[in-house]
């Protein structure tokens, strides 16, 4: 019996997605319907819909995302009215939330009470420190539910927390910028070679899908096209994730996001200074060792990564170049903000949580 048959013969788990109408939600659905371990069990799709749509059994996905119409019937899947009873009736075991963080703060405690494991793509449960959480101004900050969930939540970056994710019931899927920055910087910081006195700079650039589906002045084609702008200088929400995961002080890093005139993709250019001069070979080997067992990181030796090669993959591509003086390095990391920066990493977390191969369903 082939390996793939064995897999198929295990009972597939039942997943659900809330937030399938957004960009990340659509990518998540695309990944889950093609996931070899979930064969035949597409995710339940739920959200807030109009009563007359609910009475007709929900909205066919093809009306919301025409590009998802295919001959396996993905376009016929229905977005139904959200209802915990529905999830119970259908035996939902893992719930993906591709929702605003306020929604996740409210929904996750209930999901956990019902024994549903959650992979939350929002920023609701990513931060340990209340000081860092302040930027979100959570209304339930300090409540019993919130404290319990925060204690339970695991930061869903398998490259750093593989073991904890395997045992987790609530996974806080990382921010897209944070993923690009942390994966580039962590190996060098962990190696203890970066000079803490000289600050780290992370200059990041993201495509417009990162700004969400709501039509705004910022996402208007006339503003985004033929343009580049910095925003959130010294104040972007993902900064807290950087500080916590890299274990550094706020003044130790300056993170500046920019809006790129492309639909998707992030490129982060990070700048570090070393305590002692380092060779290119040494830096290369630090990355190689750090990511030895990480299938979703691709290391680039000869060429720096570029957005085009990472987009529509679930990889994070990393390249590092050391100055000839040995004191400085430029790190370039690229990923697709909707995949390794959102839905792809969510599926990677599912794989780790379930004990499946980490890259399964991600190519």
């Amino acid at each position: 019996m082939s390996h793939s048959t064995q897999k198929a013969m295990q009972a597939a788990i039942q997943t659900a997605i809330v937030g399938v109408t957004g960009y990340a939600g659509a990518e998540l659905l695309r990944l889950l319907v093609h996931h070899p371990r979930l064969d035949g069990k597409p995710p339940i799709l739920a959200g807030r819909i109009e009563p007359d749509q609910a009475s007709r059994g929900g909205i066919p996905l093809g009306e919301i995302h025409p590009s998802l119409i295919d001959s396996r019937g993905t376009g016929n899947l229905r977005l139904r009215q959200f209802d915990w009873q529905l999830f119970e009736d259908l035996g939902v075991e893992v719930l993906f939330l591709a929702t605003p963080h306020e929604y996740s703060r409210a929904a996750v405690p209930e999901a956990r009470r019902r024994g549903i494991r959650v992979i939350d793509l929002s920023g609701a449960w990513r931060l340990d420190s209340s000081a860092h959480r302040a930027v979100y101004a959570f209304e339930d900050e300090g409540s019993t539910d919130a404290l319990a969930m925060q204690a339970e939540a695991v930061y869903g970056m398998p490259e750093l927390h593989r073991h904890a994710i395997h045992q987790a019931c609530l996974i806080a899927n990382p921010g897209c910028y944070a993923t690009a920055a942390i994966l580039a910087l962590k190996p060098l910081l962990a190696a203890g070679i970066v000079d803490p006195a000289c600050g780290i700079v992370c200059d990041a650039k993201s495509g417009v899908s990162g700004a969400g589906k709501a039509p705004t002045a910022k996402t208007h084609f006339m503003h985004a096209a033929d343009n580049l702008s910095a925003y959130g200088v010294f104040s972007h929400r993902h900064t807290g994730e950087l500080l916590e995961q890299l274990n550094i002080d706020e003044t130790a890093i300056t993170f500046t996001p920019h809006l790129l005139p492309i639909p998707r993709g992030i490129l982060a250019t990070s700048y570090v200074r070393f305590r002692e001069p380092q060779s290119q070979a040494k830096i290369d080997s630090i990355y190689r060792e750090f990511y030895l067992s990480s299938p979703m990181v691709r290391l680039h030796n000869h060429h720096l990564p570029q957005i085009q090669h990472s987009v529509r993959t679930s990889y994070c591509d990393i390249g590092a170049q050391v100055a000839s003086d040995g004191h400085r390095a430029v790190l370039v990391s690229c990923l697709d903000n909707l995949l390794k920066g959102a839905a792809g990493q969510a599926v990677q977390n599912l794989n780790v949580m379930m004990g499946w191969a980490e890259a399964e369903g991600l190519e």
Copy 2:
């Protein structure tokens, strides 16, 4: 008699352009034909053309740049075979070179011998230090002509060298990236408040016109569109200009250019750390004072500049944001690489050299 009439009555000088077929050359022509001081005297256009084209009196500009066809006859101007005698016959006083640097190295000494003043848009004469010039590998490095020209050349950034430009006969028009970086960083460095131990970072992004008109793998739409890539890490040619104009050591700054998927425009994000904490008000006042008499710099207080607002202008837009800890600042500078980064700055240099209003013909 109106002021504009008085101007018109002074005899207009005769200019010439070599290199009008390129992007910067076309912008230069556009500026010169509309320049109020050159009314009625369009520049002579010269280059290498085919003998049969030369025998027909040259190539009408409209065939090379259809968008330059207008009802004043700009499209009928002719690109003629280059010839020093032609320039002498027509009384060319100021020659603009929008040519490769090798060409400028050869042509400038001859132009100067003939008493023609030169504004050179290439990198041929920008650098004082032979170490910095090494990146260009000039064939005539160290020759008598080259040494004489280097001694004579003035770095054509009016905001820094207004007085010298006014008296110059050879102006080395700055590089586009260098202009964006230097104008953002110089006021703070001149104020002596930047910590030299912690390195400066300049993360710059440029539209594709900066890569020139030659079709290459890099300028192919399929590579440039929907993409972002870093290049020239630790090795870009404009680094020498930064070091000389900012008067800092090579290790004190890390400059990384990126290729943006837009036709034109540069945004440079620069990062500095201060010796002592600084207030936003202090930094704002430093910029205001430094650029008090500089009409081609626009300072932004409330919003950071973005590429879209600078493109198709000859301004450099600058905004600075100080961290609440007072130790760090992010500087954003934007310009049009073909205008303030090339042709616009060249005309600004012409204005300063001739004693005209610095912004004349630049709006």
Copy 3:
């Protein structure tokens, strides 16, 4: 005394713009502040603003359109609270409306009562036939005011109605698509050589600025970028202008607009069949004669026009190619939807109305 001085000595007229916050309004302002005949008299800018803004004397233009900040002070012009008394006090003679058509329907009768001439960029007064107007569902259809204005309005396409425009007090500035289509088709239809039985096809494509400044699902970067979509099939509002100006029946032409992933520019590809075979030379000469005295039309003989060469000019570029069988022709016309398709044509109409050179201030 030079020609330009004589012009300057005539008293400049006072213009006003309502709707400067939009894309076409901003282009209009840019043209008017640089118009040689309006030297020193920038347009009055009026609209609906907040009371506290009004109490501070209005909103500086530079806050609305940062790219309009220049050293002549355009950024300091103020958008003030609209008020007819203000216009009277300041002696407004010509009012440009870059407003929604509902606004124009209400404002124009009052402006005319006050003796102010109007150039209206909206669709309010373009159509003679009530059947064609039905698509706009004007609330005041058939009112005395409306009938009077309709009788007075002149379709503002100087290439067709130069004489009437010169004498007009209310000019209905044409639609952007309509301008591209009519200017391409009119010469051949006027020559009587197009076969009426075989329908004409006009397949038009426009950049996103044509869809207006409001953020919508359609203007979201994620929808517009990397995409092309047809819309308004058999139902676009500009169809009525085509029918009236070309003097043909509804079934004689099929007009289909498409949304292009570019900021600005229209290319219309029109297809006609001839009654009798025609030569390329004959067609070329028909166009040449028709546009002999039309400075804002550029005819292309050897190459078809493309959007890039027309954008940021006020020209309409036209090229025609006849099939070797002589029975069919493909006509390509290009323009900038914000210039020849809006603000540029408005200024061209001003020039004609005032008896100035038609191209003045348009290069």
Copy 4:
């Protein structure tokens, strides 16, 4: 035993690709390595490479197409020196040619002599009529080999020639534009309702990948971006395919391609006039019946298709809108020029040839 296991147990066939360095070749490789019927047997990749590269066993694919590097090892596949013996040694049964048509003309007769079935993505064997072939100026036109191959070749559009493809040994994969135009027009022409006297118009727009990977003035970002241009008016090579497959005369259709500023995707807007008035319902039913068993055509009833929904799929999306007068229809068809317009259709042809499910490996 599951269905998918049964498939896997049939011996997979050995395929090969010549031309994997191009855009269509890369997409073809991506499809073939993920094709469930070819599990474990990636295609042999061959081409002209440098001797030193050949001596090292060829070039790793990851160096040519970095985005193809994945954890299944696709990036490690090697492009080897082309050699018929190699194909024989490795038992190549089906050869895909993603090569220039001149190459295919020379290679196909030899492949057939060696008993290798060929799916040729070039224009070498698509045309029956020597008049239509004239546009290619084949050097071997009329040779014995060429005549034999032409007789054997089947036009590889399964929606029209499913039965012949199943039995074919040489499949001429259709042109990208031709696929979009033919699939939109064929149902109506086959139904005999289109008026032949009034010409058909097909106005088609394609992304830049259709122009190939060679850097040219046309594919330069500065030309392609923010632009739209018509080309090949009355002379595009795909016209012959339209005429033959639609069985109409040259004068009956006018086909005009345009270059869109997007990487990939085609939208064709086709215009027909009917002999007798038709209802929307009638037209809808004609399409539904025609494509009843065609899994790679998606029909759109309520919304017209747009490029964004077709790109990165192997579908052709078709929508038709009938005028209220019943005499005219606008047909919009969209596809990805590299997939349904090239590699996707090639795999669809492989599926039909092998008797596999037509959509297999295409989602």
